[in-house]
């Protein structure tokens, strides 16, 4: 995967397929501690202990169209390459939380990539899921909650193309204001 936003899109796909109704995405950039944290939490179906133990195996997947499931193993590899780690916790019937921690300044850390585009695509394709995106740097915090957006929209569909393009610009400008690359 070229950048972190693609990993994020990939992992959130897992949450969508687990029938989540609310997905929380937390990105915390902490230069002082040399940490780049990504936490994705959903309230979907969750996994039992057996599945949870198999999930990091690249040859395990719930899909029927192919025999490999690379999303999680690739993310773990990328995190560990920078000296970081990835953990995944889940409870059947409650949901799942995936946490990936990278060294901020390590040369092997992929760049963040296109977050505005990623969020736009997620909201556009899943207008009924509540996305709660919080991005924190030392220069501030940006909160994007589709619940709030829908309130502001007052009935106009959130997956309308013009609205999506506007949201993409809005996210981009707000992230620039807190100095996200």
């Amino acid at each position: 995967m070229k950048d972190l936003s693609m990993h994020i899109l990939d992992i959130i796909q897992n949450s969508v397929r687990a029938n989540a109704s609310t997905i929380d995405l937390n990105i915390i950039e902490d230069k002082d501690a040399d940490l780049f944290k990504i936490i994705i939490h959903d309230d979907g179906d969750g996994m039992d202990v057996d599945t949870l133990n198999k999930v990091l195996d690249p040859f395990f997947t719930t899909r029927t169209t192919r025999k490999v499931g690379l999303g999680l193993p690739l993310l773990k590899q990328n995190a560990e390459r920078t000296g970081g780690y990835m953990t995944i916790n889940s409870e059947l019937g409650e949901g799942t939380e995936t946490k990936a921690v990278f060294s901020y300044f390590n040369i092997d850390r992929p760049s963040l990539g296109d977050m505005p585009g990623t969020i736009t695509v997620l909201v556009g394709a899943n207008p009924d899921i509540r996305f709660n995106y919080v991005h924190k740097t030392e220069d501030g915090e940006f909160l994007f909650d589709t619940e709030e957006v829908k309130e502001a929209l007052d009935g106009v569909p959130i997956n309308n193309a013009e609205i999506l393009m506007y949201l993409r610009d809005m996210i981009k400008e707000n992230l620039q204001a807190i100095n996200v690359d």
Partner: protein
């Protein structure tokens, strides 16, 4: 420096969008909604499916084609990612592979707006011999 966009600005902007939507529904165009599904599994995302989806969202709207664009999981054609499935109203779904931005443009102009089949279709046969 321009003021940063916020939810308040969104509220102001939504009125013009709402007016456009109402106008579209009141017009006498027949219910013609094209469905575009973009495959977004790991292989798709790594090959640029996100850009393709954004392109479809933006351009089908700009060119006035009423459409619903969603994502699906892996369709199994990992060797030909990005892949999309286009279902025109009243027609069988067609799967296209190796959809670059240029290809997406071609598909919109030639297949969706016109009726020409475009190169790069992955044959998907829903009926097998066993089913007969």
């Amino acid at each position: 420096m321009e003021k940063i966009k916020s939810l308040d600005d969104l509220k102001k902007m939504k009125e013009s969008v709402k007016a456009k939507i109402d106008l579209r529904e009141k017009s006498d165009k027949p219910e013609k909604v094209v469905q575009v599904k973009v495959a977004m599994a790991t292989c798709g995302i790594a090959s640029g499916a996100k850009e393709v989806m954004t392109y479809f969202i933006e351009h089908l709207d700009k060119r006035g084609v009423p459409a619903v664009i969603t994502q699906t999981g892996c369709m199994g054609y990992c060797y030909a990612e990005p892949t999309i499935e286009v279902t025109k109203p009243g027609e069988e779904p067609v799967v296209f592979g190796d959809v670059s931005i240029e290809k997406a443009d071609e598909i919109i102009e030639k297949y969706i707006k016109g009726n020409e089949l475009v190169e790069g279709i992955i044959p998907v046969n829903y009926n097998t011999i066993d089913e007969k």
